[in-house]
């Protein structure tokens, strides 16, 4: 997010805190894609729990907006609420997945349109929720280490170490993918144009 987008959001937040209904609507519209997708990716794309959590995170933002003390930091504040909600739901889902029948777990088909690595996605979903949140905020949302630490209410050192651990674990899945690719049988020659 660039500087002008930040200041536009801050301006909207200032008006929304002051009770401007239109500004509140517009602010929620602007924040929604970031909040929904961040929550979805942290909880685990492809589950109804993620969709419910995304909706709940939007409500958290709406409920808290009047109490926002620093409108200039609205983006970080909203992501903080979203990740807090997402981590809470992800932890609950992690526990529930131990007792839930397998048939109920994949209740919403998650598909990667470009055929991305399913193995990598699986490895990502197995990371602890907080580690997932760090990875999503740094590698998807594009927050700095400092912003991520603020959003997750932890130190920059924790962000660095969590991301380092996440990289190590995900690198294993990537190596697995590479090995699987290289162990595939060589492609058969295509059909020869015959007469």
């Amino acid at each position: 997010m660039n500087e002008s987008e930040h200041s536009a959001l801050a301006h909207l937040a200032e008006r929304a805190v002051g009770g401007d209904r239109q500004a509140l609507d517009q602010l929620l519209r602007e924040l929604r894609p970031r909040i929904v997708r961040t929550v979805r990716l942290v909880v685990g794309a492809g589950s109804w729990a993620a969709e419910d959590a995304a909706q709940e995170a939007m409500i958290d933002v709406l409920r808290g907006i009047r109490g926002l003390r620093n409108p200039a930091a609205v983006h970080g504040w909203a992501l903080r609420l979203a990740t807090t909600r997402a981590i809470k739901v992800a932890r609950r889902e992690r526990i529930l997945s131990l007792v839930r029948p397998l048939s109920e777990q994949a209740d919403l088909a998650a598909t990667a349109p470009d055929g991305s690595s399913v193995e990598l996605k699986r490895a990502f979903d197995e990371l602890p929720p907080r580690m997932r949140a760090v990875a999503v905020l740094r590698l998807y949302t594009g927050l700095s280490e400092h912003e991520t630490a603020t959003a997750l209410d932890c130190s920059v050192g924790t962000v660095k170490s969590q991301l380092h651990d996440a990289r190590l674990r995900l690198a294993k899945a990537l190596r697995g993918d590479d090995q699987a690719q290289s162990s595939l049988p060589p492609q058969l020659p295509g059909p020869v144009g015959g007469k």
Binding site: D25, R32, P33, L62, R66, L139, R167, L170
Partner: protein
Amino acid sequence: MTDQAEQRVDDEVGRMLRAFEGPADPRPRQRRRRGKERVRRALLGVTAAAVAVSAVGVSALLLDGKGEGRPAAVSGTQSCTELRAGGRRYVARRVPASAFAVGVPLRGRAVLVCGGTRVPDADVARVVGLGPALALVRPGERGLVYVAVGRCHDAAAETELVACLHKERSAP
């Protein structure tokens, strides 16, 4: 892990996350299909035919001028303050348009009260994440929810209302 290897992991993970990011809105839960699909479809067909026949009848009455006094439809500007559905009374309340998403349409009779006029067979839908006993919406009416009387309908401000609905949904 070298910088180059880290960068590769970051790129691959970033690409994977973008591929799975999904739509910008939370997906509404679909009603799970239960029972015999064929019977359900047949009933749907019969209902659709009945609606079509009655629509033709009402149109004919209106063209004849005998349908005067009966509301034909709700205009976009008419303010509807009340809704009755499933034996419950709902009161229209304003909420920020982005607060709730329109969910699965509800079947069954809903009567809308608009400026003292009763409009039968109004289209209503569930609100994503809220039960129909708590609140309903009308597709196309942004920023308006119909809240069940006795459950949050008297919340003073919009944010209070949203907070109350949120609290009520998780109540047993």
